[in-house]
Every structure is written in C-alpha cells, then in structure tokens.
C-alpha cells in the first residue's frame, strides 16, 4: 500500500510543479510543499533515524538524532558496543575516542561553528530568511543524469583554522519533482580543503505525511534508513557530554 501511495505522491508532485521557472523561492516552496508542507515541517520537533551504513562488507547499525533546537547525536554499534560518534547538546560538542573509548570534547572552533549554524533542522531551507541564510538560483545543471535546479545556500560564516570563512553549499533539486537529489559543499579544512564533497539523496518515503530520503550517500559512503521516528520522546541527557562519569563507569 505504501508503494502505491509513494507513487501517487510522486505523480502529484509532478502535477503541482509549475511548468515554467523559476526563482529560488519558488523552487524551495515547491520542495517544502511537495514533501509535506511548511506547517507540518514547522511542527516537527525532532527525528530519530535508524539505519545502517555499509562499509567494506560490514553493516554498521547507526542511529541519528536531530532536534529542532540543534541538538544532535550519531551513534553506531560496533561489535556489540553502542558508542556516540558525535554529539552536540546545544553547548558542547563531543566525540568518542576510539582508542580509549572515552568521550572527548571537540575543539572550540568546531563547536563554535556548530553553534553558528543550528538551523539545519529539518532542512536549512525551511524559514531560511529568519535563520539569516541566503539562497540564490544559479541555473539548471545535470546531476545524477537528470536536470536539476542548482541553489546556492549561504549560511553563517564559520572559523577555519582561525580565519573566518563563508559557509556555502549547493543543493540540486530534480526539476521533475522539486526534491533535492544531491548537495555539494567545499571541504572546509585539512588536505582536501576546497575540494567538493557531495551527498546524494534518494529513496524518498513518507513518514506521517512528511517525505524523507531513506538513502543517503556521503562522499561515497552510503547510509540506508530502516525507520524514521518523528518527534521522539528522548531523555535530553543523551546529548550531554558524559564527562568524568563515563570514565568512572568504564
């Protein structure tokens, strides 16, 4: 039944897409509308996405939590151990050191950069003006073999190795249905700095009226979602830096 519904919505999406183009706002509005509508997206307080990553023959279970206020957490399951790969509670960003298996705070610059752009939930395009972001329609481009609208998204500047730099990314919306199928952003730091890293989005499916990509590929690494739960009830301690407690527990 779900397949039929998906198909129907895909066709409906086709139907409400205006035939002629196009401003950035029209494209973004179509995207928001076609994937559930601004009202529904605005009502969303958080999501928990459970899935798995495929790496060299290994299937690694992954849970991703994203909250409206910017709290975020990625946890993976390796050899029976659940560990937080990266988390942010609104103030502190932290990771798990794979040598000691203990939590460590991220450096001040990384944390500040995280704080500078908290508006990515559920998509940076929702209410982008209020978030202080800017968008620009750059024209059509062929991506993943199909014609897309290319939108430049400028978020708040971040600091890279002590120097302020703009945060610019590019989203490619399929002209047929207005959902993003790809995004690109320049790698901000390190030996690959300046090279484009791309993400692909596919397998859009409906969850309680909202459409999410259930398959994402980030720099060649795929993640497939099994389940997406909207507005999950969570203990906010989950996001907090465990500090000394974790060390003691270990």
């Amino acid at each position: 039944m779900k397949t039929v519904k998906t198909l129907f919505v895909a066709l409906l999406v086709l139907a409400i897409a205006p035939m002629t183009a196009q401003t950035a706002d029209e494209i973004i509005n179509n995207y928001i509308e076609n994937t559930g509508g601004a009202e529904a997206w605005n009502a969303l307080t958080g999501v928990k996405m459970s899935g798995s990553a495929n790496a060299q023959g290994m299937t690694i279970p992954v849970d991703i939590y994203n909250m409206k206020d910017g709290k975020t957490l990625v946890s993976i399951d390796l050899q029976g151990q659940t560990m937080t790969q990266v988390a942010f509670d609104g103030e502190t960003m932290w990771t798990t050191n794979f040598m000691t298996m203990l939590p460590e705070k991220s450096d001040a610059e990384t944390t500040a950069n995280m704080k500078a752009n908290l508006g990515n939930f559920p998509t940076p395009f929702l209410n982008y003006k209020e978030k202080g972001y800017a968008v620009e329609f750059l024209g059509k481009e062929t991506k993943e073999g199909v014609e897309t609208f290319k939108i430049q998204l400028t978020q708040k500047p971040i600091m890279v190795d002590g120097v302020e730099e703009p945060t610019i990314s590019y989203f490619y919306f399929d002209t047929e249905n207005y959902v993003p199928i790809m995004s690109e952003s320049a790698i901000p730091s390190g030996p690959m700095k300046g090279q484009m890293a791309s993400q692909m989005f596919s397998d859009y499916q409906e969850v309680d009226g909202l459409y999410f990509p259930f398959s994402m590929t980030m720099s060649g690494q795929g993640i497939t979602m099994k389940e997406i739960v909207l507005n999950p009830e969570l203990d906010m301690k989950l996001f907090a830096f465990p500090g000394e407690a974790a060390a003691d527990k270990k």
């Binding site: 397949t3 086709l14 798995s52 279970p61 062929t142 073999g145 199909v146 300046g194 397998d203 499916q205």
Partner: protein
C-alpha cells in the same frame, strides 16, 4: 485549477506509455555516462607549465596558479598543496586576478596562455566566480579573445575593470586590445587598439592611483613553420585618466621595431618602473628603468637572463616593500638587489620561469611558476622546492603495454619521457614513474615482446632504444646516408612499432624509414610524402627580432604513421602540411589520397590516422588547422583505402574544439573516442552524434588516446592534466536503442578475477604529494537506469544461486550508467560484546569462485543478473587448499558467532539476575550466585577491561578466536600447520567453556529459574540465535 491538476495527472499517467511511439532515445553527456568516471594518475613529480601566479592580498594562506593547460589551482595552505577549481571550463589559462575589494569571493580568470610557444593551447573567454571559485560563469564579450593577459580591478571601485587581450596567435584578430568596464563586467568598451596583429601583452594599474595605467602592445604572429615577434606597431603606453586617452612613453628607447615589452610598477614607489625590451639593436635589449613614472628611461642591463626569449619570458616582479629588489622570469629566472643594475640567477629549480610572486608579508618567501610546476623559496630565491601535488603534466603522446597492471608511456613538454603503472599499491605515486628520455619528450613506445622502450627528443635529435632490464641505452635515429636529401623531422617526430613484426620499427622525416632490427639499420621506403613547400622550410630566421630557431617550427614533415593491424603491407601516413598517403604493398608505391578529402581545407595538419581493425581499407584521419587560425574540428572515415571519405563531425562538438586524435573500439565499430582541444567526445553510433565526456574529466586538450585491449580502458594523454583513464568502457559497446528503452539493464561482464595481491604500500613522506587513483580491483557491477531513482525503496544485493543473501551493496541510482563495486566480500561475523574491539569482527570473508546473482529491487520490480567470480590465476595455493581454507573460515566464522550468542545469553541472564538482586527480595542469594559464576565465565570469554591502545588487556577467548578467524579468512595462502594447531587449541578451549556454561546453567541457572517461577518474577527475555544475528 482542478482542471489543470487533472490534465497534469493525465500527462503524468500517460507518460510511461509514450515510449511506445518509438522515438529515438538520445542521451547525451552526463545523462548517458551516469557515474562512469575518469580517474587521474598524474604524474605530478615533474608537474607542468605555469602561466600565472596570483597571491591573495591579505590572506597569506591563499594563492592561485593559472596553468598553461591544466586549469586554475587554488592553495589554501600557503602553497603547500593545491586543488583544481576550474574543471568545468577551458584549461588554458592566461591570468588569474582577485578583486581587491572582495578577494575571498571574487575571482576573475582570463583564459588562453600568454607565453606563446609553438605548443600552446587556446583559451575560450573571460570568467568570473563570486563564491571563492566554487562556480565560474563566462563574462560575455571575450568569446574571440583566444588569449587574455591582464585583468586589473580598481581597488576603490570593483565595477571598474580593465582587461588586456593579446588575441589570436596564428591569425589577425580585431578583438585584441585593452577593454574597460565601469559596471562590473556587464558592458565593455575597447579603449586601446593598435591593429589586428598587435595585442595587449601587459596591462597594469598603478597600485597607488587607479587612474594611472600602463599597457604594452605587441605585434606578433606564429605559423606552423615560423614565428615573428616585433614590429613598428609594438609600443609602451600610459594613461593617466582611467584609459580615456593614451600616450606612448618611450623616451630613451631605441627607434625602430619593438618586440614583446614587459612592464612593472614598484608597489612601494609609483615613480619607479621597470621594463624589458626586445629591440632591433641587441645591445639595447633587456632591462630599462624609469624613476619618473615613465617620462624617461635608462638602459641598465642586457645580460642573458634579461634578454632571453622575450615571447616566453616577459615578467618583472618587484618586491612589494623594496623597489630595488627585482625578479625577472627567464630560462633560470634572475634577481637584482640593486635596483636592476646587476642580476644573479635564481636558485636551482625547473627551467623556464614564467611568473614569480613574493609572499605578502615576508619577501624572503618567493613563489615561482615554471615549465615544471610551482616552486617555493624560503630564503629569498636561493633554494627552491617543488609543489608536489600539481598533476598538470603536458603529454604530447602516450602508449600502453600489456603488463598487469599495464604501464602508460609518454613524452612531455620540456619534461622528458616517462613510463609508469596504471595502478600501484597505495595509488600511483611519484616514485612509480621512470624516466626514459631527456629534453622535450614525445612518443614513447614499448617493444611488443621485449622489455625495450623507444623514446625520442625534439626533432628526433635523439631516439633512444632503452633496454630496461639491463639499463642500457643506444641512440638509433635514422641518419642521412649517401645520396639522401637533408632529412626533415618534425619537432614531434612520428614513430611506430609493428603489430606483425615485433622488431620492426618505423620513423618518418619527409620519408618513411623502416628498420627490421629495432633501429640498428634503416631503409627509406617512400618518396618525400609531403608537399615539400620550400617557403615553409626556412626556420633559421624564425623568431622575429630575437631569432628563435629551436626546431619547434620544422615543417613539411610526416607527422603520423599507421600500419594496418590487419595487413603489414598497408601503411598510412599523414603530414603536417595536409597530405594523406597510403601504401598497400609495404611502401613499393604510395597513393596520395589528399584530393579525396572533401571539406578539409588545403594543407591542414594531419594529426593522426587510425588504421581500423574492422576492415583493411578502413581508417580514420583527424585534421587540425589551428596553426593557420582554423580551430574547427575535422575527422574523416574511409572504408576504401582513402578513395572516398565521410566526415563524422557533428554540431555536438564545440566549434573551436579542434581534433588531435581518434580511437576506435576494437569490438564495436560504431564506438569512437575523439580527443579534442576541449576534452573528450564519445559516439556510440559511428558519429551520428557525439557526447562530451565530463565525469571527472575537465575539457583539457587530449593529445592522444589509446585503448588497452585486455582491460578495455580508455587511456588519454592530455596536455595539461597528465594521464586520465576511463576504466573498462565495454558497457558503452552494448548501448543501443533497445537497451536505452529498458527500465533497468545489466551490462555483461567478463568473470571477475578476485585479485589476491597483499603487499605493502608505505606512503612515508607523501602527505603533500599527488597520488593517482588506482583502478578498483573489485568486481564492477554495471547497469543502466532509464530514470533516476528518487522515490520509494531500491536495493542491490548479491545472492548465491540458491537465493541466499551474500551481501548488500549501496546501489547507484543515477539515470544512465551506474557502476557499483563489490569487493567479493560477504558479511562480517557478529562478535561477542566486550570492552574493546577485535579484528575478527571487521573481517568479511570472500566468496568462493562461482556464479552469483546480482538482484536489484526497485519498488515492486526485481531485476537479476548472473555474474561469475574466479580465483586469481597467480594464486600461490591450489584449489583444494583454497577449499580447505574456505571451509575453515566458515567454521571459525560460525564459532565466532556461537560465542557471540553465548555471551549474549550470559548477559541477558546477568541482567535478570541483577534485577532480582537490586529488588533485594526473594531469590537474591540465588541471583547473586548465578551472576557471580556467570561473570567469572564471561571474564574468561571476553575482554572486560582496558582500551584499544596501550592499555589493552590480555586477550581472552574471543580475541584469540577472532584473530585466528581473521588470519585464516584474509590469507591467500593455504592454512598453515601452525594456524591449524592454534585453531585446534581454541576449539578445545571453547568446548571446555561450553561445558562450563552448561554446568552453570544446569546448577546455578536452574536454581535461579525456579526462584523466578516460584516468585512470579517473570521470565528471561531472550532472542533466538537467528534474531540475534540479524543486524539490519
């Protein structure tokens, strides 16, 4: 609205059926090639020619290199490493300029290299980025500029910009001159124009007064057989009113013709100017200085370093803080510390220095752009080190051999001849490349059967036969014999080996020379096959004001030789002056078929002839007339030995993408690859239409293409981005209308060899080096999707022939061709939970040799393709031993998972026991007893303390078991006795622990269960083993 919605829905529903109308499906470019991507293997160790350097005015980490044929590269780490930022556009760069008012975001690029040697590429206009180089857009108005030398932006008003257009090298051009915009590039006005043969070789703005401009105008022209620099129209101009009016500033300069003029203003003192002149009087050539902003000039120096090859080296750079410190480009580059009176050479680096730049804060740090890449000096120019990750090498020609992995051979502009592997452990590194020739390198060919390499330098001055195994070289170029005319070899002289006679070796001057003994003795087997036009043969006076007889302009020569792969008697020859000649009797007689080439202008350079494998009379010839100003693409096909020809060029090919090479497919006659000045084009229908291949493939000049027969790889020698390879193009052979109409089509593949290489790939010291991408040794699962998959679920998995899932793969969802790699792995075992990690848990065994099904599920539909895997023929073990290894791997895999489940059960029991203990009620004693005995067991089974590094605990059973599992699974050798004994030990230990566990369950466990039952404390919830082992 409702009506609109209805009709739209109707359209949507009827769309899928419109395919019935049989309209021809024409997929182009990215739609067709999907994620079939090119890979780059460099090399970068000798890098390539740099045209222009640009440093950020305030951020010393950021700088740019505009390269002669490899695009624009940006460094964000103070010049340690660079990354390409201009890969969507023409790769020949004249100038890169940053907007001083917004240097982080606004980058201007003028294309077309400006140091006008014979082999330069062409540009294609003016471009601008407003997002730090992520995207560039063409700025209209400069479509015919060919070469842009200067972009000067007013630091107080970035709407006011001046552009210097040098213009066409091989023809007249009214687009030359100095242009100005006052609206940021919307509209342009030509503000200085001298004539159709005189271009702007430099335009600079006084850094302290944007209304003051200097422009040097240069009269110059190149042809296929000569070069002329200088004329009465050359001159040095100044404007003090933003370009409204211009006046010559030549007080003190000698009268008569002038050549290329360099000009620079001292940033710290606008009254001081330096200029380098090329004049009719050699004594007056070299450095001139003005101390009154150009009102008058004084001649200071005509040392070699100041006068050498002005068309190639006319760049002066002045220390931003000290007007007496002056750098000058040149063969070695020069530096003066006394205001230009005396100079010394810059320190050792690659020769031919085109541009230099000082660090913005520390003049001890100097960057240099050479024919061999970017160099850095930390001590004011005395010692230089090379930037190691600029793979902008400029190949004239490449070839491949049949080794595994195959090697690529080729010669480079000013950088000798080389060969290197197409794949290497850890990637293709600088150290993988081997030098096999000096000077400018051109064609490099491997002997078909012996480990011998032929290479050459410019004009066949030396042709080397290199015995690789014995490290011996011999020069073997044909020498004039009694009665011979003077031999005319092209700068890039043709060579060929025979597919029929391994020791046969061809070369050509104006004659075809053949040797049957690898170049020891030669025989001429043709008359002069060129037009022998004497007007094109006097190179001694070439150069104009400065004689420049490097041999690069030798003309009326043979340029390409092609022996038919089907018949050794059929030999095709093409000349640089437009002749196509063919012999069918090994050179006894020759047919000049030039007159049959309808549509090709007379004397158009025959750059390559490809003798076909699909018919003895079939050949392709490509022509290019860029040295007479004709940039149009030309490619012809004949099937009757040249009696008739058909053009296979269509308007799909960019109008200035002149053609240097064509490669046919050995299987499908309709599949052709065209190497052009603007990149690679591919046709799948014999030239009815062409697609530009742009997947990780910049529109770089492709000088030569080979197809490696065993791998079906397309290997390209590019003139600016090194060797670029498209792995296994065989899927393109299958594409036809029927395939394109299918929703999903799996392409056939040869059985996948499961390569067993397991060597080392130390990468010490390579942190800032370019490393070429390897060919994947995984199985390539290739399929075509008619539509991009965006909505609903799509999965891809490998199953055995009984339908058991071996592994799941990340499916490609692109419209067009998708390539998914499978490393022949199944899944990794579920490990027992412990405090730390064990390698065993990260090891997925390989599948055995055999047939498998690839299953693609898309919505309700399922598509299947049977594939086959094979053991590596170079395996060091027998099939019987391999089967034993596989069986033991499986046994250990199961054992690892048995232990995992046992530890899981223990954990669940302990959890329940803990619950009862914590409740502090009935059964506490039994619970504690059970918990303790289980814990004692658990700590013998798995590690419960320490970390993954130096605080690691001693291995327990899980770790020992995991290690031996991983060892057996990943070794390609037979299972050794030692490993087998270790396995037996672990198996025995595990058996003992299982017995111990059963005893605990029987004693402490049963007691606990009774307590639970008696007191209604609930059962222990336990997953079945199957449930436990399912991970997703």
């Amino acid at each position: 609205m409702k009506k609109a919605l209805y009709s739209a829905l109707l359209i949507a529903f009827t769309l899928p059926f419109s395919g019935i109308a049989q309209e021809e499906i024409q997929l182009k470019g990215k739609q067709l090639f999907g994620d079939m991507k090119a890979r780059h293997i460099g090399p970068a160790l000798m890098s390539g020619r740099i045209n222009d350097l640009e440093v950020h005015p305030t951020n010393s980490r950021i700088m740019y290199a505009g390269t002669a044929g490899g695009g624009v590269w940006k460094s964000s780490d103070g010049g340690a490493t660079y990354a390409p930022i201009f890969d969507e556009h023409v790769q020949s760069i004249g100038v890169v300029s940053l907007d001083p008012t917004n240097p982080d975001q606004n980058i201007w690029v003028g294309t077309g290299e400006t140091w006008t040697r014979n082999s330069v590429s062409i540009g294609d206009g003016l471009f601008k980025s407003t997002d730090g180089g992520n995207n560039f857009k063409e700025v209209p108005g400069f479509e015919n500029s060919e070469r842009i030398t200067s972009i000067e932006i007013n630091p107080k008003n970035n709407k006011e910009i001046y552009v210097g257009v040098l213009g066409e090298l091989w023809g007249d051009n009214e687009d030359r001159g100095v242009y100005k915009t006052t609206d940021g590039g919307e509209t342009w006005k030509k503000i200085l124009y001298v004539g159709p043969s005189t271009g702007a070789s430099d335009v600079i703005m006084d850094p302290n007064n944007p209304n003051v401009l200097y422009a040097s105008m240069w009269q110059f022209r190149r042809s296929g057989w000569g070069f002329s620099s200088g004329g009465l129209n050359s001159g040095l101009y100044k404007s003090t009113n933003g370009g409204a009016t211009w006046a010559k500033i030549q007080t003190g300069f000698p009268a008569g013709k002038l050549g290329r003029i360099a000009i620079a203003v001292a940033p710290s003192d606008s009254t001081i100017l330096y200029s380098v002149l090329e004049t009719e009087d050699p004594k007056k050539n070299g450095l001139w200085k003005s101390t009154n902003a150009g009102a008058s000039w004084e001649h200071l120096n005509n040392d070699f370093g100041l006068v050498v090859r002005p068309f190639y080296f006319s760049r002066i750079v002045i220390d931003p803080k000290n007007p007496d410190i002056v750098l000058k480009g040149g063969l070695n580059g020069s530096i003066s510390r006394d205001g230009g009176k005396t100079f010394k050479s810059l320190g050792n680096m690659h020769s031919d220095i085109h541009d230099l730049a000082f660090h913005i804060n520390d003049s001890d740090v100097i960057y240099s752009g050479t024919d061999g890449g970017v160099y850095r000096s930390w001590n004011g120019g005395t010692t230089f080190e090379i930037v190691e990750n600029l793979p902008i090498s400029q190949f004239y020609h490449i070839s491949v051999d049949n080794a595994e992995p195959y090697n690529v051979y080729g010669g480079l502009q000013d950088n000798g001849s080389w060969y290197g592997p197409s794949s290497s452990p850890g990637g293709v590194n600088a150290r993988d490349w081997n030098s096999v020739g000096y000077g400018d390198g051109f064609r490099v060919l491997k002997h078909p059967t012996k480990n011998i390499v032929y290479s050459e330098m410019q004009g066949a001055e030396n042709v080397w036969r290199y015995d690789v195994d014995r490290n011996r070289t011999k020069t073997i170029q044909p020498l004039p014999e009694k009665g011979d005319a003077e031999l005319r070899f092209n700068w890039n002289a043709p060579m060929a080996v025979s597919e029929h006679q391994p020791d046969r070796f061809y070369m050509a001057s104006q004659f075809v020379h053949v040797s049957e003994d690898m170049g020891d003795t030669w025989k001429i087997i043709s008359p002069d096959l060129t037009t022998n036009d004497k007007n094109k043969q006097d190179q001694s006076s070439s150069g104009g004001l400065s004689v420049d007889n490097s041999g690069a302009e030798n003309h009326t020569t043979i340029f390409t030789i092609a022996e038919s792969p089907l018949d050794e008697k059929i030999i095709w020859v093409g000349t640089d002056d437009g002749n196509v000649q063919v012999t069918k009797n090994g050179g006894k007689s020759w047919d000049n078929v030039t007159k049959n080439l309808t549509g090709i202008p007379a004397n158009t350079w025959v750059y390559h002839i490809e003798a076909s494998v699909h018919g003895k009379g079939t050949a392709y010839a490509v022509f290019e007339g860029h040295t007479s100003g004709d940039m149009k693409p030309y490619a012809m096909k004949t099937t009757d030995y040249g009696k008739t020809w058909k053009s296979i060029i269509t308007p799909d090919i960019q109008e200035n993408a002149f053609v240097r090479n064509i490669q046919e497919d050995y299987v499908n006659e309709d599949l052709l690859f065209l190497g052009t000045e603007m990149g690679l084009y591919v046709t799948i229908n014999g030239g009815k239409n062409w697609s530009h291949f742009t997947n990780n493939m910049p529109p770089v000049a492709v000088h030569f293409i080979e197809m490696q027969k065993q791998t079906n790889d397309i290997v390209m020698g590019t003139h600016g981005r090194g060797v670029i390879i498209i792995d296994d193009i065989s899927p393109l052979r299958e594409l036809n209308q029927q395939v394109l109409a299918e929703d999903v089509h799996f392409f056939d593949s040869k059985p996948f060899v499961m390569v067993e290489d397991s060597g080392f790939a130390g990468s010490f010291g390579a942190e800032t080096q370019f490393v070429g991408q390897n060919k994947s040794t995984a199985g390539r699962i290739v399929y075509y999707l008619k539509k991009r998959h965006t909505f609903g679920k799509m999965t891809l998995e490998v199953q055995d022939m009984d339908g058991n899932v071996m592994t799941k793969l990340d499916a490609g969802k692109s419209k067009g061709i998708n390539v998914v790699n499978w490393a022949f792995n199944t899944r990794n075992p579920v490990m027992a939970a412990a405090k730390t990690f064990n390698n065993g848990g990260f090891t997925s065994p390989r599948v055995p040799e055999g047939q498998y099904k690839v299953v693609l599920k898309k919505g309700k539909n399922s598509y299947e393709k049977v594939i086959e895997t094979k053991y590596d023929a170079s395996s060091i073990t027998t099939v019987k031993e391999r089967k034993e290894q596989e069986a033991l791997t499986q046994e250990l895999f199961n054992m690892v998972e048995d232990l995992a489940y046992m530890v899981y059960e223990i954990g669940e029991m302990q959890t329940k026991a803990k619950e009862v203990i914590d409740a502090n009620g009935a059964g506490k004693a039994e619970a504690q007893n059970l918990w303790d005995t289980l814990e004692a067991l658990r700590t013998d089974l798995v590690i419960t303390t320490g970390d993954n590094y130096v605080a690691a605990a001693d291995p327990e059973l899980r770790e020992r078991m995991g290690d031996v599992y991983s060892k057996v699974a990943t070794n390609y050798d037979r299972v050794s006795g030692s490993v087998r004994k270790n396995y037996e030990l672990i198996q025995e230990d595990f058996s003992k622990e299982k017995v111990r566990y059963e005893k605990i369950k029987d004693k402490e466990g049963k007691k606990f269960m009774k307590v639970l039952e008696k007191n209604n404390l609930g059962a222990i919830e336990m997953k079945t083993k199957a449930e436990f082992l399912t991970k997703d």
